[in-house]
């Protein structure tokens, strides 16, 4: 009796295993499922809404084109509410679904450490929207890829901007979170390589600071004493415009340079007239119609802009660009798997991505580079008359 029961259980297990091993290789025309782990509620809700809209729009387009060699794409979108625990739970849930070869998201830096660790342990590709940071790069993880421009290339691009503008001494006012601090450090490193004098302020600011006046009052004497040519706000989100606004209110007229996080419409709306003349390097989707005629990115960017305006009544921004690039990178890698889509095959295909042209530029992944983009994929931007204007040097 006991033996019989054991046999039944064993048989069931074996048949389950058999079923699983069968389902590993999708049958002809069966969909490829992509897990999407996004901050759809919480402070990033409005930003991730754009991501979701673009993902849905692009998947519909891919499926209308016949999918990936006859296999349609299918999205499973889950909301992590900008919560570490929920992001981890969703990631784990996706890893247990053997039909999912790749998980997209999370959006924000504080969550990527967790999902990357799970991806590494379970052996599933994780494409993260936010830039990598020195901490996660140091781990040399095999299964995680980042979409956005890394702190390294942003800092290199900004050093170029300072050289072109003839700035000699630059004061950096960093945020107190890892990405803002590493942007400041890399900028100092690359700037000093090129002979610039870079001072990183001891004062920092928090992402929740609504008034930077006190910090700026302390920085004002340094600006005057060191004859600072430019003030670098190494930050993202609302603190950027707040810093510029507070500076101008204190009568500091030093030119301001910023990060690629300044390339969003709401930044100009928050800072108002104070934002005039702020310069930074950013992704190409910020200025779709000011790109060079011969730029291979231009037709992709303008096409996406038109389709977004038509469907959602809102034009393209860097976020929409990231979403577009992520889904088409997946499409491209799946296609190169030639029907043999397993998690390992997909990862290898994605890592082999070379010269892939998308909204933000040309992606090249390699075993040593999981960030994809390069300095050449960014453009210089100046805020003029409340609009983004491309600068060429």
């Amino acid at each position: 009796m006991k033996l019989g029961k054991k046999c039944v259980v064993l048989a069931m297990c074996l048949s389950l295993l058999f079923l699983f091993s069968c389902s590993q290789k999708p049958k002809e025309g069966s969909p490829y499922t992509i897990g999407v782990n996004l901050e759809l509620t919480g402070p990033w809700a409005e930003v991730t809404k754009t991501v979701k809209q673009v993902l849905i729009m692009e998947v519909e387009k891919i499926n209308a084109m016949g999918g990936v060699d006859g296999h349609p794409l299918e999205l499973v979108i889950e909301d992590n509410g900008f919560d570490q625990g929920r992001a981890a739970a969703i990631m784990t849930k996706f890893t247990q679904n053997k039909k999912i070869p790749v998980v997209l998201g999370p959006w924000e830096d504080p969550l990527q450490g967790t999902t990357r660790a799970i991806a590494e342990r379970e052996g599933i590709t994780n494409i993260i929207f936010c830039p990598s940071n020195p901490m996660v790069r140091g781990l040399k993880q095999k299964w995680s890829f980042n979409i956005a421009q890394s702190d390294i290339i942003v800092s290199r691009k900004l050093a170029d901007l300072c050289l072109a503008r003839g700035y000699k001494t630059i004061l950096v006012f960093p945020g107190n979170w890892p990405l803002a601090l590493s942007l400041a450090d890399y900028f100092k490193q690359f700037g000093e390589e090129k002979g610039l004098k870079v001072i990183i302020a001891k004062e920092t600011h928090a992402p929740s600071d609504i008034d930077m006046t006190p910090q700026l009052i302390k920085l004002k004497p340094i600006i005057e004493k060191e004859k600072v040519d430019a003030f670098y706000a190494s930050t993202g989100g609302p603190p950027g415009p707040i810093i510029v606004k507070n500076m101008r209110a204190l009568g500091i007229k030093t030119p301001v340079i910023g990060t690629h996080a300044f390339g969003f419409g709401f930044v100009i709306a928050l800072g108002g007239a104070a934002m005039e003349g702020v310069e930074f390097g950013a992704g190409k989707p910020v200025v779709p119609y000011q790109l060079d005629e011969g730029d291979p990115v231009r037709p992709i960017v303008t096409d996406l802009d038109k389709r977004m305006k038509e469907r959602y009544g809102q034009g393209l921004d860097q976020i929409a660009g990231h979403a577009h690039d992520a889904i088409w990178l997946i499409y491209d890698a799946l296609k190169r798997c030639k029907g043999e889509v397993t998690r390992a095959a997909f990862r290898n295909a994605l890592e082999d991505t070379t010269e892939f042209v998308a909204c933000h530029g040309i992606y090249n992944y390699s075993p040593t580079d999981h960030d994809g983009l390069s300095k050449e994929d960014m453009v210089f931007i100046r805020i003029e008359d409340g609009k983004f204007k491309r600068l060429k040097f």
Binding site: A206, P214, K218, P221, P238, A269, G271
Partner: protein, 296 residues
């Protein structure tokens, strides 16, 4: 570097912050004076003042002053609704339960705002330009003067309301001596209802005034509410004058502390001030009608 050279400008910044904290603190005190309820949704009224004005300007196309007025009225209605839907049904419960209910209401309000108006931060243009005025080496943005003026104006209006009108006195009576108020024929629940409206109005005015200086978003109310609460406690729980004084003390201490310590500790300073006051003078600087310091 000599830290004292920053003091005048930091003082100017601190007075502005103080005026903002004072406005939020006044909102807390109005409700406490009528019902002893601590309304943790107070910060949300401030947030709504800014967010709803923004919506009326961009969504409904109203001119700025009209939009601001409409927003204040809308928030007053929300204040009334908060009383009718949350506080009134729980009128027989203990004050502690009511306080928890207001915490719940604040979460509902801020998330509803996120759903309706989005999560991106929103800014309003300043009332009268953003060219800073220079006074003896100190720079002040005109909007700061608006905030300062409004704080004192509201303080005097509230003083008049509570000391010179029957309604104001009835409001106060229903809190200090509920039984006595009942015996004198004061409709206590109606007084609390009115207090929620006035408090929401003051909060919304604060929101309209401060949004041009900073910005507002669906979750901006929490920290402002907390700071306003600290200001009200520091100054003297339950006193209008205490709320205003507490606001300025908090703002100035917070701001000037930066001359000596890194700005990262700015928010902690507020709580240190609160602890020190509670430790050495639990009834606040001006004393509180509700806290008997002999009990400590």
């Amino acid at each position: 570097m000599n830290p004292w050279i920053h003091i005048p400008q930091l003082l100017a910044a601190g007075i502005t912050m103080g005026a903002i904290y004072a406005l939020v603190a006044l909102g807390f005190v109005i409700i406490v004076r009528a019902s002893q309820i601590l309304n943790f949704a107070q910060g949300e009224f401030v947030m709504l003042g800014g967010v709803v004005t923004f919506f009326f300007i961009t969504g409904a196309g109203l001119p700025y002053p009209l939009a601001a007025l409409a927003a204040v009225l809308a928030v007053i209605v929300i204040g009334f609704l908060l009383h009718l839907l949350v506080v009134y049904p729980l009128r027989k419960a203990s004050v502690l339960i009511l306080i928890m209910a207001t915490v719940g209401a604040s979460i509902v309000i801020s998330n509803t705002s996120a759903l309706l108006f989005g999560t991106l931060p929103k800014a309003l243009p300043p009332f009268s330009g953003d060219l800073p005025l220079e006074l003896g080496g100190i720079r002040i943005v005109p909007q700061n003067l608006w905030v300062l003026g409004a704080t004192f104006l509201l303080f005097f209006v509230l003083y008049f309301l509570s000391h010179r009108t029957l309604v104001g006195k009835a409001m106060e009576a229903s809190s200090t001596d509920p039984l006595g108020a009942d015996l004198s024929g004061i409709a206590r629940n109606f007084m609390v209802f009115l207090a929620f409206g006035v408090s929401a109005g003051v909060g919304a005015i604060a929101g309209v005034l401060v949004t041009p200086i900073f910005y507002t978003s669906y979750n901006a109310g929490t920290l402002l509410g907390l700071k306003g609460f600290i200001a009200a406690v520091v100054g003297g729980w339950g006193k209008n004058s205490g709320a205003v004084l507490g606001g300025f003390v908090l703002g100035v201490v917070e701001s000037t502390s930066i001359a000596f310590i890194p700005a990262g500790y700015k928010d902690a300073v507020a709580f240190v001030v609160l602890l020190l006051i509670l430790y050495f003078r639990p009834k606040g600087i001006l004393g509180s009608p509700y806290i008997d310091s002999r009990r400590w």
